[in-house]
Symmetry: C2
Subunit: 239 residues, 2 copies
Amino acid sequence: MFSPLYQQIKALITRALQEGEWKPGDLIPSEAELASRFGVSQGTVRKAIDELAAENLLIRRQGRGTFVSTHHEAQVKFRFLRLVPEAEAVAQGLRMEREFLECHRVRAGADVVRALRIRAGDMVLEIRRILRIAGEPVVYEDIYLPAAPFRGLTAERLERYRGPLYAMFESEFGTRMVRAEEKIRAVNASAQEAELLRVPVGQALLSVERLAFSYGDQPVELRRGLYSTAHHYYRNELS
Amino acid sequence: MFSPLYQQIKALITRALQEGEWKPGDLIPSEAELASRFGVSQGTVRKAIDELAAENLLIRRQGRGTFVSTHHEAQVKFRFLRLVPEAEAVAQGLRMEREFLECHRVRAGADVVRALRIRAGDMVLEIRRILRIAGEPVVYEDIYLPAAPFRGLTAERLERYRGPLYAMFESEFGTRMVRAEEKIRAVNASAQEAELLRVPVGQALLSVERLAFSYGDQPVELRRGLYSTAHHYYRNELS
DNA sequence: CAGTGGTCTAGACCACTGG
DNA sequence: CAGTGGTCTAGACCACTGC
């Protein structure tokens, strides 16, 4: 089993991130410091950091240093929300409102158990919310989180928090979402869904099922979203 | 205006690809050869090739050399088709059939003119086709190509060709698709669409509008697809 | 100005491929 | 075996940031 040095360094840095040695937003030691700490050359540390930066775990800033990536930065906020307004001109003045409909503990269903890799019968938090853009309801989401790491998360706290959910999870529960997989389908709105999103019954909606992972590829959130795509679309880049 | 050496090398290599010095599937010169040709060190060439490989323009094969990427390789076939069967077990035995409904020259509409950056009034090829997986119609597509570079493309030739469309464009018309942008919405099937995809009128379908680019970020294909997501879903990775 | 990441070089050695 | 890309090193210098 051969493993390049820089991969081992990468694993060491990842573990340090996982264990919270450096918190999101923090400045990590310089390449030279890390090189002497790990007993390798700067070039080797550099290659490890390059990959971590490509995976969005770290952010390099020339002249300043390398920082732990965070969901709090303006540019990276809503990194996972691919919904874009149809009229680009409006994109600027979009103010997004969130309304939390529910937040309670429930016993995990079989699909949630499988997705989050928890034990059958474990409790999960279920959050339902609506996102409105310029007053118009655009997204309805049903979110499942393992109850243990998110103990103390209440509707009231959700309402109070300013900023993206993932920023809150990161600073208040120490769980940082690193990557996600989405399964996208088209579905016809049920009577209930239609009322929530204020569209006709049967209206075609985007169904977006997201599984989000933290460090070490651990799944920590299952999310089922319904997007109204009358004035917005889901943007994707293929390469 | 400062530009790193390796970026200039990257541009030189990209231009060579664009001008057809090395064709898709070809082995390009070794790093050492390119280094001496461009008068830089191997490390600099290496970094340029690294980025081109990350962008899927080149493929590195240890011990063999670096090759120009192509749509013909088994692993990269259908790289741009993100539709995945619901039942993973079935994924193996999927045989995909294509039926070309139309292929004719038309004057480009305003939206096609804008997307493909051609002149108002220019002619384009319009292709309509259906993809069936295991006999079931899953995708209906309406494809627009600038007429000039695709002169001689007929329904008969489309029918005859074995393999992905982009593989055909590459080997028969010298146009290689490099990346694409997709706008995804949910729409209700019209009577005509419903008949083509054999679903009820009003059935929710994924609308996928793709703009595909060749070397140098030149748009060369606009494609409007309707995906039936009863037994398939659109898979996406967020990071 | 000192300190950071970013570029570039030259050279050594390793891992993999094909003949 | 020769030739390729892959790793690792050490050192020089550049570009950017903040003080």
